[in-house]
Amino acid sequence: MTLDGFDSGRSARIIGVDWASLAEDEAKRLKALGVDEGAEVAIVHRGVFGTRDPIALRLGNMTIAIRRAHAHAISVETA
């Protein structure tokens, strides 16, 4: 399953990222932040309206905001 559909608050392990679906700079930025295969993340906050965009992730001691579209490119399993 992909990260955007994952429950808030639960730990997820990233098992793959569809880098080709992301813009080059965004892929670079995500990798630099450590959002990559093997990382453990948890959704801690979601945005306001309808699509509940953006999403705030917990990664280690960092909180990272991404869009749902990015989360959709990230495949996860329960950690």
């Binding site: 700079d25 909180t63 990272i64």
Partner: protein, 615 residues
């Protein structure tokens, strides 16, 4: 050694680099641009324990040498010594967030791989302790092969030790260093994990403050309400709190004017001093308190970590007009001044996003418009309240800000469907940890911004004011003729007035718009100068521009003037910055054309509706 010594701070964004920079250099800082690029170059002077001075550079925060933004490219090039005109720093001070070691050690390895003399500042150890983390600097030093100094920049903890380590490091380049690293990104991550683990003595599972605070501040419903409330408080404060200080400054200018009038015999030179210099520059400088209050809030939001949360909350809204939450910070800065705002768009990676943000930045009500708004509002809007603690004047000011924002939304929507058409942009951003801002850091930031404003007042605005005074004072009027009608400025105003008359502008207003091209706030000094020169009665001249406007302008005319300034691109510096940031004249021309068209339409609509309503 006779050569000037240099050191550079390098590290991830949000590692507390700037606070450390302030702690090491104090207020001895110089802000400029790197040659050829539009990235801010922050340099300062620090003193080694030996008393020797070192130039310290605060390099832009960076996640990787594989740069995703122009800022990161500067950091990479300077550190690697490939940036033309910039000497490679003698010592690198690698700043790591103690509570974020595993993340920050990834970039750290890239830096250490260079084999430059390096000192690690293990920064914000107090926040790590707050999060229940006890670290072992010695173990980390062993793993990295360079000295590690625990610091708390905001409390000056470890600052002297760091300075000593910098002095020491200069003589010890680690020639072996680059042979120890050379890893791929996944390898670096793994190694970072091991090093972080090895340097961690104990780690409690205590919940960080962030989770609790963010649960409220990022709450889907409460968060936006809090943000909107905060913005409202900021704008009320800008208008209310500044008044006593502005009054004091105004009084000071009055005393000076009287002094000059008393000391000198009536002459052209005395008129030049009182009607030109003091009336003009004085009426702009009195708005310094408002600018400082606005910047104080912006700096507070940045330093506390709330600004990124505001971007998070605004992202959805910005996405609906084709932008991202990242545009929120440049646009919010533009409320103080469009110039730092446009320069802050450098952090937006997507070029179309960035261009759109640059084009709409002038629609955010900058502090230069405050003087114009403040004078007109004080003159024509009654000082009543419309609810507990809500003044009508503040409410009108708020409405003007909203008008600019609504205009920006519409323009952004149009731009994203036409000239900057393209795929919707993304939003990836680290939300830094909350921190108590330190007064000294705030003070340094405020001083730098106030200085920029005063320098503008002392140069562009001064020159424009003097030029206007000359245009207004010559040729001299015949007896019985108004000085304004006879002057050069009168002729210029006559030329543009037919275009502005339909939207309710009187001749003084048309006249004030000419020098206001230099900077919006000059409109106020221009009006002051115009009325001071034109007044035959000394007392009337002294009464100030506010009472003149109250007496001479109709309400629809005053409202039309306010509406004009919501949109009009009356700032040469903004146009110049837009040219520099977009590398050409095309986009500044587009910007100026659409803004003038909007200004004319908005002022016209305001005037016609107000007249129609019988105001």
């Amino acid at each position: 050694m006779s050569r000037k010594h240099t050191a550079a701070l390098v590290g991830n964004p949000n590692s507390g680099k700037s606070a450390l920079f302030n702690a090491l250099t104090g207020a001895r800082q110089k802000i400029a641009n790197y040659a050829g690029v539009t990235v801010e170059r922050k340099a300062g002077r620090m003193t080694l324990p030996s008393g020797e001075p070192v130039e310290l550079l605060d390099l832009p925060g960076s996640y990787s040498f594989d740069a995703a933004s122009p800022d990161e490219a500067v950091t990479r090039d300077v550190v690697k010594g490939t940036f033309e005109g910039e000497a490679v720093p003698d010592v690198l001070v690698l700043v790591l967030d103690a509570a974020n070691l595993e993340q920050h050690l990834v970039f750290a390895q890239e830096v250490l791989e260079l084999g430059r003399p390096t000192v690690v500042a293990l920064n914000m150890v107090d926040l790590a302790e707050r999060d229940g983390l006890t670290l072992d600097p010695e173990a980390l030093s062993e793993a990295l092969g360079v000295p590690v100094i625990p610091t708390v920049a905001v409390r000056r903890r470890g600052i002297n030790e760091l300075a000593a380590a910098i002095a020491e490091a200069e003589t010890h380049a680690d020639e072996e260093a680059h042979r120890r690293w050379h890893l791929t990104l996944p390898e670096r991550r793994l190694s970072a994990k091991h090093m972080a683990k090895g340097a961690t003595l104990s780690k409690s599972t205590r919940h960080t403050i962030e989770n609790g605070v963010d649960r409220i501040l990022l709450n889907p419903w409460l968060g936006p309400v809090i943000l909107f409330g905060l913005l409202f408080v900021i704008f009320q404060a800008v208008f209310a709190w500044a008044t006593p200080f502005a009054d004091a400054l105004e009084g000071g200018v009055g005393v000076l004017t009287e002094g000059v009038t008393g000391a000198l015999a009536p002459s052209l030179f005395r008129d030049f001093l009182t009607e030109g210099v003091l009336a003009g520059v004085g009426s702009v400088v009195v708005f310094l308190p408002q600018i400082i209050i606005l910047f104080a809030f912006i700096l507070l939001m940045e330093a506390s970590g709330y600004m990124a949360r505001a971007a998070f909350l605004m992202d959805r809204l910005m996405a609906s007009v084709g932008l991202s939450g990242k545009s929120f910070i440049p646009l919010l800065s533009s409320f103080a001044c469009a110039i730092p705002g446009i320069m802050a768009t450098r952090s937006i990676a997507d070029p179309k996003d960035r261009l759109t943000t640059i084009l709409i930045a002038p629609l955010m009500t900058c502090s230069a418009r405050l003087p114009v708004y403040a004078v007109i509002i004080a003159a024509v809007i009654p000082q009543t309240t419309v609810g507990p603690g809500i003044g009508l004047q503040g409410l009108v000011l708020f409405a003007l800000y909203i008008a600019g924002i609504v205009g920006a939304i519409i323009v952004a929507l149009v731009l994203r469907r036409t000239v900057t058409k393209g795929a919707a942009s993304g939003f990836i951003m680290e939300l830094p940890r909350y921190q108590l801002p330190r007064i000294k850091d705030l003070a340094i930031g405020l001083w730098q911004r106030a200085w920029v404003f005063l320098r503008r007042a002392g140069t562009i605005i001064f020159v424009a004011t003097i030029a206007l005074w000359v245009l207004l004072s010559f040729p001299k009027a015949e007896p019985g003729e108004s000085q304004l009608d006879a002057s050069f400025a009168g002729s210029v105003a006559d030329a543009i007035h037919p275009v502005l008359e339909p939207i309710g502008f009187n001749r003084e207003m048309s006249l004030a718009l000419v020098p206001a091209m230099a900077a919006r706030e000059v409109a106020v000094s221009a009006l002051a100068t115009t009325y001071a020169v034109d007044a035959e009665d000394e007392d009337l001249a002294a009464e100030g521009v506010t009472s003149q406007i109250a007496a001479l302008w109709s309400l629809p005319t005053a409202l039309a003037f306010l509406a004009w300034f919501v949109f009009a691109p009356q700032c040469l510096s903004t146009i110049a910055v837009a040219r520099r940031e977009t590398n050409g004249w095309k986009w500044p021309v587009v910007m100026v054309a659409y803004l003038f068209a909007l200004a004319w339409l908005a002022a016209g609509a305001t005037y016609w509706i107000a007249v129609g309503l019988g105001l």
